[in-house]
């Protein structure tokens, strides 16, 4: 059994620590059970089932740290792995950036575990996929998709008395439907920690609607357009920006948050005043762990307020150097939106382009976070508040920093990948060329 209870995990970690002779020692234990099913051409292609558990231990003497891990848990194995980490520590060079471990803390309980999701088995997965396949067959489309569920736990303990434990479940589903002629393609995806929210039938219908609607796309000239980005397109653009919310690289002068002449652009009006971004492990639709691997609590954190970056992440080492409190790095970001629906955003648009998702996004210039990538699986021209016709896919060259200065309206945030983001209406989004891809 790869999923241990809090008490079972605690007992193994205590036993491992009892063998330690190091100045400082930390132990982590993690287990994972899960499965997946993949289908294409309206039939299952591959499927798998995985079960594994592992313990890692770091021992430190005079800033020299050695790490070893093991996947056997009898007393002799636990003692062996402790000794091995201590031997490696003696061989390692001293790390001037080593910071003494965190002491004991009380962490709030997380909302990441769901018993129904933990009980998903191959038959349940197959049944969920069957629903999706039936929608595709009825719509005379070819479906390809993927369903994966995970049930995992993680616990940490150290020689200063810190202990933390968390259980997590997740299920993710994605589906692409294409017409027989290869002229239309649609996509939908969702992830939840509660499998009962997953509706593979509805998601496949959304994908099927986009596949049929995108057939026969017309070519229009690339250039600057008002766009409505659906949440998947928004999360794709933003994910590259958050790496810059790191104090060390900003202060070292090597990311977009670095200021001319030195220092950072904290509290500058970097984005439009309508942009507010926070992270919150207690958000019901995007629950996260309440502690990180360093043993620091994860709390609700306001990263951007009225378009100004208010917070940068500080590693424990960099915080010590700068004499500030450590700030765990940004994760599971939530961009506050408005109350409009996607349909409202379309209605309010005289001329524009609706983008379902963006694909193969890559950083072109880290100085400006200029990204390139392409639209995919449903791109539509909007005229007088209505979808007028499908258009061929575009390549874009755009920076999320510029984009967040051009936001005209936002809908309700929803989970998209590992974020909560709204659909957004953005002016002057730069498309640089056309693609023949469907």
């Amino acid at each position: 059994m790869a999923i241990l209870t809090k008490e079972e995990a605690q007992a193994i970690l205590k036993k491992a620590l009892s063998y330690s002779k190091a100045e400082e020692c930390e132990v982590s234990l993690q287990g994972n059970e899960g499965g997946n099913i993949r289908y294409a051409r309206n039939a299952v292609s591959t499927a798998g089932d995985i079960s594994t558990m592992s313990l890692g231990i770091s021992s430190t003497f005079a800033k020299k740290t050695g790490t070893a891990t093991i996947n056997e848990f009898d007393d002799a194995s636990l003692e062996k792995v402790v000794r091995r980490s201590e031997e490696l520590a003696q061989l390692a060079p001293a790390n001037p950036e080593y910071v003494s471990l965190e002491g004991p803390k009380t962490f709030k309980d997380s909302k990441t575990y769901n018993a129904t999701t933990a009980a998903v088995n191959p038959d349940i997965r197959a049944e969920a996929v069957l629903k999706s396949l039936n929608v595709a067959k009825e719509a005379k489309l070819e479906a390809a998709g993927f369903l994966e569920n995970t049930n995992s736990f993680r616990a940490i303990m150290n020689s200063k008395g810190l202990f933390a434990y968390n259980k997590d479940t997740d299920v993710s589903f994605s589906v692409t439907t294409r017409n027989q002629a290869g002229t239309g393609s649609g996509y939908a995806e969702q992830s939840y920690n509660d499998v009962s929210k997953l509706d593979t039938l509805l998601l496949t219908k959304i994908a099927a609607g986009k596949a049929n609607g995108s057939a026969g796309a017309r070519a229009i000239e690339p250039g600057k357009y008002t766009v409505i980005l659906e949440p998947l397109a928004v999360s794709g653009m933003l994910s590259y920006m958050f790496n810059g919310f790191d104090a060390r690289s900003a202060e070292e002068g090597r990311n977009f948050m670095s200021k001319k002449g030195g220092g950072t652009r904290l509290n500058e009006q970097l984005f439009g005043e309508n942009i507010n971004i926070y992270s919150d492990p207690f958000h019901p639709d995007l629950p996260g762990n309440t502690w990180n691997g360093d043993g620091l609590p994860q709390e609700r954190t306001q990263w951007v307020e009225k378009g100004m970056v208010k917070k940068l992440a500080y590693s424990r080492y960099w915080a010590q150097q700068k004499n500030v409190q450590p700030q765990p790095s940004a994760r599971s970001m939530i961009l506050e939106g408005g109350n409009s629906s996607l349909e409202d955003l379309i209605k309010s648009t005289e001329k524009g382009i609706l983008v379902t998702r963006l694909w193969y996004i890559r950083m072109v210039d880290p100085q400006t976070v200029l990204l390139t990538g392409l639209t995919r699986d449903g791109t539509f021209y909007i005229e007088n508040g209505k979808i007028a016709f499908p258009v061929k896919n575009f390549r874009f060259n755009e920076s999320p920093i510029i984009m967040l200065n051009n936001v005209e309206a936002m809908g309700k945030p929803q989970r998209s990948e590992n974020m909560m983001v709204p659909p957004m209406k953005i002016r002057d989004f730069t498309f640089s060329s056309l693609s023949d891809a469907v």
Binding site: G48, Y360, R376, S435, A437
Partner: protein, 544 residues
């Protein structure tokens, strides 16, 4: 869900300690322990348990991979070591066909009893899925090979080289960069050893020992006054070699405006040269957008080959198996069967090759027990073949697999992955200087940079590391903010020539991503410097 199509090891400043491509459950070990392989007799006995159990539970075919995957990652920045990690991942993956459907299960528990249980799980997965299966899986025949083995032909095993030696080399590298005026440098050596044992109900028992290495650095220069920064990375590339790649040899150096390397890399000479280039790059003229003839060095062209030729000729993409993730292909079985699909012009000859020495894709047998081979993909511009596995071969009328099956570890199911795909050198004698002297308005691009291509592999955009303006046949200094955009078929039809084999080199990557759950594949792409006429170049500078 991650959507990274190409899981590339770059931007080391943003967390050099993250161990890319390592199993999260990998076991950290002492390097010495890593050298003890598991006895082949024991592996065979364990394998037979899996095969017999699977058969007794109703499987018509079964294979097992007993894998031991070793990684070592030594990472430094400036004058300090950021981390030394040794990991081992050991376990079994069992794949079966039952009721005409694939099933797979894996476990880190490797006793006979546990292997039997994992085999049962694999059969249960196959049977659950057979309810929604289309047509039954059809395998191309592969005769049993008996007990055979293969090893990477390495000269010096990186796992036997003391950590101290690696740390000293990297810190010396960093010292040269800092003395040369770099603001920051990250450097690392990443070594991989896959010890994998494959057995199947066809009667093959295959023991393989595969090595790879990637030494690298990334230099950053900051201009505080202007707030600008820029980077250049090392001229090294991941290779299917071991520590011998880090032993410089004069005959491996390719001289030119920047020294580049073949099978032996000189990290100390490279860092000195590249550090000086960062200053030049920062001060370079911003490019005027427009049409240029681009001259692409192999250190750059490998990635364009990978994205625009390697991926669209993958048969699983052509058939639609990757439609939900990496995408499909502009190529089709009809285009192949027409025998006249004009992929490129007559200069374009591209081969798939799983045998090429020192390449990342070279092994003796693929992960479903098929002996490796070499075949043409594009011949004088015409599409002539794809890349297939056993269950796909019949779909393009082949009576045997091309040996393209690979799994990134024991824990993952094997599927169709790209072999080395390489552009053949020009037959006529031509040096890089000969090529450049005939270019009126061009850009010479060295090193790979930003890359993006659509899901059917038509429209792409590539950056680079260093860009030199060519004016009237002469190099006229460095440019910056350069990226080119093109369409695959137009680009390869605009090939204005390929230098001869004296310039031929490999480039590659450890982390080509495909599949769900996503898996990494290591692959090399060879070429000589090549010219492409009238390519659209854009300027990537922005103000924020």
């Amino acid at each position: 869900m991650k959507r990274s199509d190409f899981l590339y090891l770059s931007g080391m400043s943003a967390g050099a300690l993250m161990l890319p491509n390592l199993d999260a459950f990998a076991r950290h070990i002492d390097p010495i322990e890593a050298l003890d392989g598991m006895d082949v007799k024991l592996k065979k006995a364990l394998a037979d348990v899996a095969l017999n159990t699977a058969r007794s539970k109703g499987a018509s075919y079964a294979d097992i991979r007993i894998g031991r995957y070793l990684n070592q990652f030594v990472a430094t920045r400036e004058n300090r070591v950021q981390g030394v990690a040794n990991t081992e991942s050991f376990g079994v993956g069992i794949r079966v066909i039952a009721d005409g459907c694939w099933g797979f299960a894996s476990s880190n528990l490797v006793t006979k009893e546990d292997i039997a249980r994992t085999a049962e799980r694999a059969v249960a997965v196959a049977k659950a899925n057979s309810k929604i299966q289309g047509s039954p899986v059809q395998l191309a025949p592969q005769k049993g090979l008996g007990e055979v083995s293969w090893k990477s032909p390495i000269e010096r095993n990186a796992f036997e080289v003391p950590v101290k030696e690696k740390v000293e080399l990297l810190l010396q590298t960093n010292g040269i960069a800092m003395a040369g005026g770099a603001s920051f440098i990250n450097s690392a050596i990443f070594a991989v050893n896959e010890q994998k044992y494959f057995a199947s109900t066809d009667g093959s028992y295959i023991d393989q020992d595969v090595h790879r290495i990637y030494p690298q650095f990334n230099i950053t220069k900051i201009d505080r006054a202007s707030g600008k920064f820029d980077t250049i990375k090392s001229s090294s590339t991941p290779m299917g070699m071991s520590y011998d790649y880090l032993e410089p040899r004069a005959e491996s150096k390719v001289n030119g405006i920047v020294t580049r390397y073949k099978d032996h890399y000189d990290i100390l000479a490279d860092v000195k040269e590249v550090t000086a280039k960062v200053d030049e790059k920062m001060k370079a003229k911003s490019v005027e957008p427009g049409k240029y003839d681009v001259v692409l060095d192999p250190s750059h062209l490998w990635l364009t080959i990978h994205e625009s030729v390697g991926h669209p000729t993958e048969l699983d993409r052509v058939l639609g198996y990757e439609a939900n993730y990496a995408g499909t292909s502009f190529l089709s079985v009809d285009r192949l069967n027409s025998k006249k699909f004009n992929f490129g012009n007559k200069n374009v000859n591209i081969v798939a090759d799983k045998l090429q020495k020192n390449s990342l894709g070279a092994v003796g047998y693929d992960d479903e027990g098929v002996p490796c081979k070499k075949w043409d993909l594009i011949k004088e511009g015409i599409l002539v073949n794809f890349q297939a596995t056993r269950d796909q071969a019949h779909m393009i009328g082949l009576d045997e697999s091309q040996g393209c099956s690979y799994a990134q570890s024991w824990a993952d199911v094997q599927f169709q992955r790209m072999p080395n795909v390489s552009l053949q050198p020009g037959k006529d004698k031509m040096s890089v200087d000969d090529m450049i002297k005939n270019v009126e308005k061009g850009i010479y691009i060295i090193g790979d940079g930003s890359f993006s291509i659509d899901q059917q592999r038509y429209n792409f955009q590539f950056g680079g590391q260093m860009f030199y303006e060519i004016k009237d046949g002469k190099i006229a200094g460095m440019l910056r903010d350069v990226a080119y955009q093109s369409n695959t078929q137009e680009f390869w039809n605009a090939c204005g020539g390929v230098c001869d084999e004296s310039d031929y080199r490999l480039g590659g990557a450890f982390n080509d991503g495909k599949g769900q759950p996503s898996q990494s594949n290591a692959v090399s792409h060879g070429s000589s410097t090549a010219r492409f006429n009238g390519v659209n170049v854009i300027n990537t500078a922005r103000k924020i």
